[in-house]
Symmetry: C2
Subunit: 322 residues, 2 copies
């Protein structure tokens, strides 16, 4: 049996738990061993949850449990996720995360700590929600010299822009609707000003170009200045407005920008509506390939989290046999 | 150094050779060792090719070379590819292939021979050209109970249908054009009657559902009966006609069909024009995710071939260190 822990029992953490219950047999078949959630860390109470017996408020319970080999960090934000992740890696546990802020800020250091402790730090779920993108860049497209990555990487802004187009709403009204539906935070700056897209693009650059570009160096513009009139004009021209991140190799340097763009209908960037994300990858052999799907949502993100858990679990099983 | 051989020096084989020359340093960095083509087998002469010194007409030269650990089978068709692949696997070499006919027909047997000889038989390039799809199904989406796969998997028919729509041509004229451009064979039945799509769908079923469905059991209809009038009618209704493969889990059984469908513009299936392919995957956690890109072409297909070569090469390097 392979024991895992979930640190942070919010939308992603609880959906990750659901995978191990609903698809337990399938996971066992694909890993070659059972994968079981042994402990869940959260400061909140979940008295009515079927997993309540696994919950603890004490993070040390996981660090000190030698039978746990993989921890899922789904707290989000920098603190305490950074300290927790370091402690987990140094105690010899692999860590899987959906935390794009942490990966974009401290990813290099955490990957280094993981490597020195002979464990893994994986983050497929940190970009594009459930869409497979990190592993395809590292494995499926590994022979390519990457030249460019283009993406709609933030579900909140995409939802707002879709709403403005479909209903003619103002930015303020569409944002309010997104906040009421739980798609936008009360302080929406990280999303609407493009910081979240910067972070995800930075993670993609690290993966594709081997360089974790400082997001302060990005050319960044958010969508808060987009008016209903801008949207109407774009619509009349057969176009949509999307917040697009672009990273391009220019003379050995990675140039990154995040800004709203007017996109003609019919192309791959235009198909991502609502909270969907789309990522276009260009390389010197593949030409261009596109990944499209749910950029957010607990179950979709848990699909990505578990792809990392399953990869590590398979490796544990294979080393046990060797 | 990891030595590989290329068996069949056509469009895919020669592009695979190009990756090892053009991206040699990048491959070395990503594998942790140099990867070199040591021998190329083809019955034709390539006197002006820079790789002419590596060419041999004698397949046994590869089988008997113990320093070669990976062979790329890019001959296509069943014979002699089947016998060659068996001999290679039994001599302890991993085999990577773009040969969908062979994988769809003898994949189970070949995977079994590979497993018994402790080597790999990988076929990322057999479906969707350069689009990452086999590895995403096996790894990135591994936690999902797959429910449905939908795809435009044949570039030739998609090129013909795109041509008919854009230029109002008849099926016969569009086919002739595709033949002149080298996109369709002189005997086009495998493509236009849907057999090629059946084979690729069958490989996807094997990968996603664990069942290699006999293509004789598919509900199959090709595009040779599509008229210019059908296309015009679809166009007037804001639709396009595409040859679509569908595989669905129904009460534990996989139901497969391949047929032309009228698709509304704007959705992911409609964006694949020309020789592009698109594959939509549905699962119980991911919901739906889409892969889109070049379904054919030497360099794009070589990108997929080399993803398998790099995976095996990395595993050789990692076992050497262990």
């Amino acid at each position: 049996m392979i024991n895992i822990a979930i640190i942070g029992f919010g939308v992603v953490g609880s959906a990750t738990y659901e995978t191990t219950v609903e698809n337990a047999k399938l996971i066992e078949k694909r890993v070659g061993d059972t994968v079981k959630v042994k402990k869940i860390v959260d400061i909140r109470d979940f008295d009515d949850h079927p997993a309540k017996g696994l919950l603890t408020k004490n993070f040390e319970d996981v660090v000190n449990d030698r039978t746990i080999s993989i921890a899922v960090e789904s707290i989000g934000g920098l603190r305490p996720a950074f300290e927790f992740t370091k402690a987990l890696l140094m105690s010899g546990k692999s860590v899987v995360t959906s935390n794009k802020e942490l990966v974009a800020t401290h990813g290099l250091e955490l990957a280094d700590i993981a490597s020195r402790n002979n464990v893994s730090y994986l983050f497929e779920a940190s970009v594009g929600g459930g869409i497979p993108i990190i592993r395809p860049l590292k494995q499926c497209l590994a022979v390519n010299e990457f030249t460019e990555i283009i993406g709609i990487l933030n579900g909140t802004t995409n939802y707002i822009l879709t709403k403005m187009r479909e209903e003619g709403s103002s930015f303020a009204d569409a944002l309010k609707d997104a906040q009421e539906k739980g798609y936008a935070e009360l302080n929406p700056a990280a999303d609407v000003e493009g910081y979240d897209t910067c972070r995800k693009l930075s993670i993609l650059c690290w993966t594709a170009f081997g360089k974790l570009v400082d997001i302060e160096k990005f050319d960044r513009k958010g969508i808060s200045g987009i008016t209903a009139e801008d949207i109407t004009k774009a619509k009349a021209a057969g176009c949509v407005i999307k917040l697009v991140g672009r990273a391009k190799m220019v003379n050995g340097e990675v140039k990154c920008s995040v800004a709203p763009e007017i996109i003609p209908l019919g192309g791959p960037l235009a198909i991502a509506d609502g909270v969907d994300n789309v990522i276009i990858v260009r390389g010197n052999f593949i030409g261009e390939t596109t990944f499209y799907g749910p950029g957010a949502g607990g179950r979709a993100t848990a699909s990505a989290v578990m792809s990392d858990v399953i990869e590590i679990a398979r490796s544990i099983v294979s080393h046990r046999r060797a």
